[in-house]
Symmetry: none
Subunit: 405 residues, 2 copies
């Protein structure tokens, strides 16, 4: 299969341009009734509208038409990595979500504390939803498990959820869940998927050793007297922004998962603070040290997930208010978009293409008067797969040579 | 990888339709300021506007979003050949640019005359930029070099630049440059790239023999007492228009490189004269002998490269004036487009999608009132990769059967 990065690697050149990718998570929305306006269209966004008049608009397709992405594929697409080629296992995402710094030899696992009866049969798959304080204490006990040849890390996530990481040479990620997905049966033993490569067989054996020790350690901790494993996955091998684009990239994100996704593609993850204002101050401070900036704003997504149309409008206006801080820095290229749509009408991520705005002096202007789904539908970028936004950003930044003579 | 030509080969049928592909090189442009018009939009183009009302418009993406093509990839795309699959080496393009008729067993090389000192170290990579007359005389001397088993051709390009072609069975094109890209060191020996296939090793040996003889022949010709080799490349194996489309194609182009690109895909290259008027007379004379005509107009690109907005407008109007000569012949399908954009604002090729117009009686009209970037953005073809224009032309010409039952 043709790899876009073969092209960007070959054509990338250096200059002193700066690119900013402003991601309002879940930006795209839906109107509440036919003929109505979306959250973004109702929000007063004077700064984004001004940027739209100076740029060109379009709609970004995160993966393929009809496919609703999670945060992982959504962001990989925005970063220019084909989300169908680079798939991130659930265990890896869970580890990224607690800011665990995964290395290239790591296999990550989502764990659930569960309750076993005297016969070893699961009676509660969530261990009575124990509190986070109990989960944390049990993880500290499990973190002391040692297995020859690998390092073991056990970290709490929330309540009954935890992350386990095995670190060592030659570990594979193709191992099946041990969670049987129902009560009344025993947990499954870790088994390599399908025929099973040697590396995944080794991971299955290590996971089995871990579970044997865990059963003894937790024996007296009912209702959390055992755990199941799900989403066992190896950290994927992803080339870095530096290598494929020649960019020195920085991520300014408040939530751990987005920091983790940025770290996966080799961005420097900066301390972002907790507010958009903190993030803007960090951007200003880091301006001279990097050539690419990924800034992530979470609350357009979370308000959409809450089904709160008005809150999403308000969060969009909050996001808009930060835009002058970005443009004041004089970036060569600014892209504003989301990793997916989260219409409050659906209370979830959706497959709808996402508004995108690219502003640069080299734009072919498209007569857009403001930033919103309807204007984007008529925009000059057309409907474009998210993975092509990075090549476009590089082009507008003068960072790609001509292909062929 | 799926090959579009597997489909066109299978579905192609014969009839007496005629297709004309009118290429205004570098046609796409940019406005000078936000809200302004492009060169094409400012130009008075009554005939193209009339054709736009009778057809359907769109924007053509030469390679992929953000990728700026050279003339080679730009034209291959228009001819329906995936420019990422068929890559043309620099030596081959240079040979095409001097109208050298490359055969399937040819390896072409860009040469630079250079100056060596008494120790064999390069002191001038361009041999003091000798005049074209001197370059021509030295090439005539080198053209007499004989190497057993291959034919050798040496042709002047301009000043210190020349083309060398090795013709023979079993030659490969994967040989590294001998130009060290700096002075103060000796030229490199020809070496196969990477591990080196047997055919490329053979080419490297032949190139070494050539250079040994050249060093003796040029010994007394300082400052041009040696040469370096770059862009060593084999003529790519490209199936012909006849084979993939069933079209008997003719090229009417003034500049050698475009004639050469047409020859690569098996077009008959007609004597085009020097003006657009000459080209139109040639088109009229050849009308009954071919089923496809590629007409190339250079000056929309060269005026763009000069950064001369007004000249590009004037050249576009000159191009427009030729359109009635084409439509008077009654072609079944006319496509008007460029191989890439060359905005005068950028003084270079660019990645911006290119206006395209397809006129045929079978068009679904899109309400276009004229031919320009903004109308094309709203046009019925949408944004389309250039390689799909040929299948569309064949379809509108009634030359493609139904796919499947």
């Amino acid at each position: 299969m043709f790899d876009l990065h073969d092209l960007t690697r070959r054509l990338a050149i250096q200059n002193d341009s700066k690119i900013v990718l402003l991601v309002a998570d879940g930006l795209g929305g839906l109107p509440r009734e036919p003929g109505g306006k979306t959250e973004l269209e109702i929000a007063r966004t004077p700064h984004l509208d001004e940027l739209a008049r100076r740029g060109t608009l379009g709609l970004s397709i995160p993966v393929l038409p009809g496919i609703t992405p999670g945060s992982g594929p959504g962001h990989l697409g925005l970063f220019g990595y084909d989300p169908l080629k680079y798939q991130i296992g659930r265990g890896v995402l869970e580890a990224l979500g607690i800011d665990f710094d995964l290395g290239p030899n790591d296999v990550a696992v989502r764990g659930n504390f569960c309750t076993l009866d005297a016969n070893g049969v699961i009676t509660d798959r969530r261990a009575g939803r124990i509190g986070s304080d109990i989960g944390k204490r049990l993880c500290e006990k499990l973190d002391r498990i040692t297995i020859p040849g690998v390092e073991v890390f056990v970290r709490p996530v929330k309540e009954y959820r935890l992350v386990i990481v095995f670190r060592g040479e030659g570990l594979g990620g193709d191992v099946d869940d041990t969670d049987p997905q129902r009560t009344g049966v025993a947990p499954l033993d870790p088994q390599p998927l399908g025929a099973g490569d040697a590396a995944s067989k080794r991971t299955a054996e290590i996971a089995a050793q871990f579970l044997t020790q865990a059963r003894e350690i937790l024996a007296g901790d009912a209702p959390a007297n055992f755990l199941t494993m799900r989403g066992i996955a190896k950290r994927p091998a992803i080339p870095t922004f530096q290598e494929v684009y020649g960019l020195k990239a920085a991520a300014i994100a408040v939530y751990p998962m987005y920091r983790g996704l940025a770290r996966l593609v080799g961005m420097d993850v900066l301390d972002a603070g907790g507010t958009l204002d903190d993030q803007m101050r960090r951007l200003e401070a880091a301006w001279n040290d990097h050539t690419f900036f990924f800034v992530h704003f979470k609350y357009t997504d979370s308000s959409g997930e809450d089904g709160d149309f008005a809150a999403k409008v308000a969060r969009t206006e909050e996001f808009d208010a930060a835009v002058p801080r970005v443009t004041a820095l004089g970036p060569t290229v600014v892209i504003v978009t989301g990793d997916h749509s989260t219409p409050s009408k659906l209370r979830s991520h959706s497959w709808h293409p996402v508004p995108v705005l690219l502003a640069a002096d080299t734009c072919r202007f498209d007569g857009s008067e403001g930033f919103g789904e309807s204007e984007c539908r008529r925009g000059g970028l057309g409907q474009i797969e998210a993975k092509y936004l990075m090549p476009l950003a590089l082009a507008h930044a003068g960072r790609l040579e001509k292909f062929g003579a």
